[in-house]
Symmetry: C2
Subunit: 169 residues, 2 copies
C-alpha cells in the first residue's frame, strides 16, 4: 500500500515530539535545569526553549497546512521544562486531532506562507520533504545537542525512541 | 499522485547531502578548518567527521536496503574536509544510481539489520519514517551544530538549501 501523506507526516511528528519530551525529562532532572532552558550552542542561535518552540511550530504548521485548517498560535512564553512539556503536549493533541482523511491527498496541494521577508511556495510533497522533515528534526536534534553539550546524560536512543529490536544471536 | 517510497527517500537524502556539502564548504574556509574536522559537542559524541560518516551511512543504507541491493562499505578514514566532500559525493553517486522502480513498492518489505548488540526489524515504511529520517537529519544537523558552535558563519538556509521563495508584498 503506497505511503499516504498522513503516514509520512503526522505519526513521525508525534513520535518525534514524544521523543523530544523524553529528552527534555532528562534535562529537567539535571542539577542546572533552570539554566538549561536558556542554554544555546552559539550566541545567535535559539535557546533550548526556542528549539522546542520551533519544533512545535513546524509540526503544528505541517498538520494545519496539509489539512487546510486553522494553525493555532502558541505564544513563545515558556521559561521552564514544565512549560515546554505543556507546549509539546498541546502540539501532540493538535496533531492527534487531525484525521488521515484531512491530510491524505494533499501531495499536490499549493502551500504558501510567509517566512521572514519571503513568501515560500510549495506543493504538499515539497513542503513535507524539503521543509517540514529537515526543519523539524533540526530543532529536535539541536535541543538534544544543547543538553548533550551541557552534560545531560541523554543518549541517541532517547532521541530515536524505542525501535523493534531483538538481541543479535 | 500518492507519495512513492522513492520520492519520500532518495531525493530528500540527496538534497540533505548536497546541503551538508555546502555547510562543510563554509567550515573548510574557516581559519581553524583542520581542527574542526575533529571537533565535537561532547567528549563521547562523534566528531564532525563521524557525523558526516553516519549521515552517509544512513543515506546509503536506506537506498541499499529499500532497493535490496548491496550496501557498499565506505571505510571511516576521512581526516580532512576534502575527504569528507569525497565521501558525500560518493554517497550521492550511489543514491543517484538507484532508480525509482528499485525503491517503489518497498513499503511493506521486511528490513532487518544489526545495530550494536541488536537486530532491528522494520517494514520499509517504519524503517524510513522511524529510523532513516530522524537519524539522517540528526547527523546532518549535528555536523551543522558543531560548526555553528565553533564560530563558522553557517546559517539555517545553508542547512535547508534553496527554497521556492518570492519577496513578500
Amino acid at each position: 500500500m503506497p505511503l499516504s501523506m498522513y503516514q509520512a507526516s503526522i505519526p513521525l511528528l508525534v513520535r518525534g515530539l514524544d521523543n523530544l519530551s523524553a529528552v527534555l525529562k532528562k534535562g529537567a532532572a539535571h542539577p542546572d535545569a533552570a539554566a538549561l532552558v536558556e542554554a544555546r550552542l552559539a550566541p545567535d542561535m535559539f535557546t533550548l526553549a526556542g528549539q522546542v518552540q520551533r519544533a512545535s511550530d513546524t509540526a503544528k504548521g505541517c498538520a494545519a497546512r496539509l489539512a487546510g485548517i486553522d494553525n493555532p498560535g502558541f505564544p513563545d512564553t515558556e521559561t521552564s521544562f514544565a512549560q515546554l512539556q505543556e507546549r509539546i503536549a498541546r502540539t501532540i493533541d493538535f496533531l492527534n486531532g487531525v484525521k488521515p482523511a484531512q491530510i491524505d491527498g494533499s501531495e499536490d496541494k499549493a502551500i504558501s506562507f510567509k517566512a521572514g521577508p519571503y513568501i515560500l511556495n510549495f506543493t504538499g510533497t515539497s513542503y513535507l520533504t524539503t521543509f517540514v522533515m529537515p526543519n523539524f528534526f533540526f530543532h529536535a536534534t539541536t535541543a538534544y545537542d544543547i543538553l548533550r553539550h551541557k552534560g545531560v546524560a541523554v543518549g541517541k536512543m532517547d532521541y530515536l525512541g524505542a525501535l523493534p529490536a531483538q538481541p543479535a544471536g
